[in-house]
């Protein structure tokens, strides 16, 4: 039985071209970019070129890009970076953020910051109005993700950015799930900070970056050398940066085509489920092409995911089932506070480079057959 990967929102396969771009850097460019000799310069060259290209692909300036170890570090650097010096104030975020944001904000709360968590509508999105209403005079930071990682629901980041133009608060957005699917241009969107990850776009793990608009003061979270313009100490992960550059380049070239493909996959997947008379509902509206979150009636996440895996379909749920403890998804809990069933029976499928029309349909048929067996 062929294994089918439908968990691209968790991570993606690395493109061959990305690997090929990294190998010579591993082999030949082993210098430290901070060194003054030719080895160092060579590495610095790789870094500079990547920074230029990565910046250009989101319409940013080179100085506005800080390479990090990934999305989580980028989120953390943004959130702590702009609040560290203040020590107090008000923060607005949503109750459906990734834990990289939620747990960071919770740490701010412990430090004495006041936090407002804006709840989503049942369609999975917060409204710009609700975010606006949460603003106070002493609001120092607003953090709203671009695309929710569990449901794929787009959040009104542009509108919120507009609303914040006349407010001194910094606006941060976790753009990890948006990259590669949505059009991201910092010249058009009024954000101050955007967090990205390499491994969600077929790049290597261990690399990501933060866009910090010029003039946004960032206190570093790590202390050491003067890398990344003193905002992120530590020798740069040159090889991974090269891989990220290549992944970004390929993403830009193919993004529109991929989005169209993923939309089709999603349609095919859902229509097979319908044909096979699976009783389900899609969680959330206005979702991004690559993600669909499905509530299966009369089912249970644990049993379903185990069965999917045994039938070689890889998917996941926002609910954590660590060591058998069921922790319902905070996203679905926020969307459907009165529907505990839905938190227990929802699964995320996410499409990407490992898919084609045939294996997506085959996966849907396996899902349907498991559903029928369990629903007997």
């Amino acid at each position: 039985m062929e294994a089918i990967y439908l968990d691209h929102a968790a991570t993606t396969p690395v493109h061959d071209e990305v690997i090929e771009a990294m190998v010579p850097v591993y082999r030949e460019v082993y210098g430290n970019p901070s060194s003054i000799h030719q080895y160092g310069r060579k590495a610095r060259q790789v870094l500079d070129e990547a920074r230029r290209k990565v910046a250009a692909s989101i319409g940013a300036g080179e100085k506005e890009i800080i390479f990090t170890s990934g999305g989580t570090e980028a989120d953390n650097l943004a959130i702590f970076g702009v609040t560290e010096e203040l020590g107090e104030g008000h923060v607005v975020t949503t109750s459906i953020e990734h834990h990289a944001v939620l747990h960071a904000v919770a740490a701010l709360e412990k430090q004495g910051f006041d936090v407002t968590y804006v709840a989503p509508e049942p369609d999975g999105a917060v409204t710009a109005e609700a975010v606006k209403e949460a603003l106070r005079e002493d609001t120092v930071l607003v953090s709203v993700m671009m695309v929710n990682n569990e449901t794929g629901v787009r959040q009104p980041v542009e509108e919120i950015g507009e609303a914040l133009k006349n407010h001194p608060a910094y606006f941060h957005s976790d753009a990890v799930q948006a990259l590669g699917i949505e059009n991201i241009d910092v010249r058009e969107t009024a954000v101050d900070l955007l967090a990205f990850s390499g491994h969600k776009i077929n790049g290597p793990k261990g690399i990501g970056f933060l866009f910090a608009r010029e003039g946004v003061p960032l206190t570093p979270m790590t202390y050491g050398g003067e890398q990344e313009r003193k905002r992120r100490a530590g020798t740069e992960n040159v090889q991974a940066v090269k891989g990220l550059e290549k992944a970004m380049e390929m993403m830009e070239e193919n993004r529109e085509e991929h989005v169209a493909q993923y939309e089709n996959y999603k349609k095919s997947f859902l229509s097979v489920l319908e044909e096979e008379e699976v009783s389900f509902e899609v969680n959330g509206q206005n979702t991004t092409a690559a993600i669909v979150n499905i509530s299966f009636h009369n089912m249970d996440v644990e049993t379903m995911l185990t069965n999917f895996d045994l039938e070689k379909v890889a998917a996941s749920s926002g609910s954590a089932c660590t060591a058998g403890s069921f922790e319902p998804s905070h996203v679905l809990s926020a969307m459907f506070p009165d529907d505990p069933e839905r938190m227990r029976n929802s699964i995320r499928f996410s499409f990407g480079a490992a898919n084609n029309e045939t294996n997506v349909k085959e996966a849907a048929r396996r899902v349907a057959s498991i559903y029928r067996r369990l629903n007997k």
Binding site: E302, L305, L310, A323, G324, R373
Partner: protein, 370 residues
Amino acid sequence: MKEPKDTRVVVGMSGGVDSSVAALLLKEQGYDVVGIFMKNWDDTDENGVCTATEDYEDVIRVCNQLDIPYYAVNFEKQYWDKVFTYFLDEYKAGRTPNPDVMCNKEIKFKAFLDHALSLGADYLATGHYARVRERDGRVEMLRGVDENKDQTYFLNQLDQEALTKVMFPLGDIPKPEVREIALENGLATAKKKDSTGICFIGERNFKEFLSEYLPAQPGKMETLEGETKGEHDGLMYYTLGQRQGLGIGGAGDPWFVVGKNVSENILYVGQGFDHEALYSDSLIAVDMNWTDNRVPEDSFECTAKFRYRQKDSKVTVHPLTDNRIKVVFHERERAITPGQAVVLYDNEVCLGGATIDEVEKNEEPMQHVG
């Protein structure tokens, strides 16, 4: 009969050495092995540390060594409803329950077995020391070859529904050899200490644990003749035949618990290990399970165990109505305890078991036993 490679066996893995070796042996025999960790109890402490998390880590490490898939499943609610509630109710009634027997009956070989079957499993395997054998279209449960570790006492409630679908890969192996196999194969759990006691209490103090759930009602400690000998901390903390913790000094033989009066909250004590009040000659037990699903019509002789790791005693069994049995001892028995299991054997074969309800002497219930 399917080939091993086409036979899916779900192994209930606890993160201990026994279930690890059970999985290893099945994998070596070529089965399609799936490891599943069952979480029945949450003991997360104030530091966020939970033994289940640690144990599951061990399951993951072993399964990765064996290259088999692993998952976890939660039965906390079922465990609470079917096992823990029963456990507390029995203590409230002044009896000494056996939660492991109930856990095997309601959770491991029912809820968990159903879960395994829902994953397309042909069999459920565990690291219990017991054996199964097919005979005349039925499956018999036999004692494990390691007499010291035999666990059929705890498995007495298994019937054909369960036995036809279980595998006990360790039943033929002495425990020391199981450890050796684990060591030879470098299993991550090879040197892990065996768990002791009741799973949800673990290493904690039993008295303290129980007091968190049941209000302790101290009361009088008396001899059967009505002489007050002191105070007890709550009847639930004492079991029949117990010597420790009575705190009665003075001359003569040591003192033992010989009975309980639940309605008046009195603990009866008597002097001497062989106190007459501890001895009985028959018992009535309820919820009898016959492992082969057939209720015998006539009385018969066999052997029985009244507690774990006790030697077998010769008995005559009389099947009664309503799933009850009367067990008559060929020689009188000391400290037969209501709430514990009586398990019947025909040589190596475990015939089934029941819960001791009444203890009798000269055909009369011994009222002081409670």
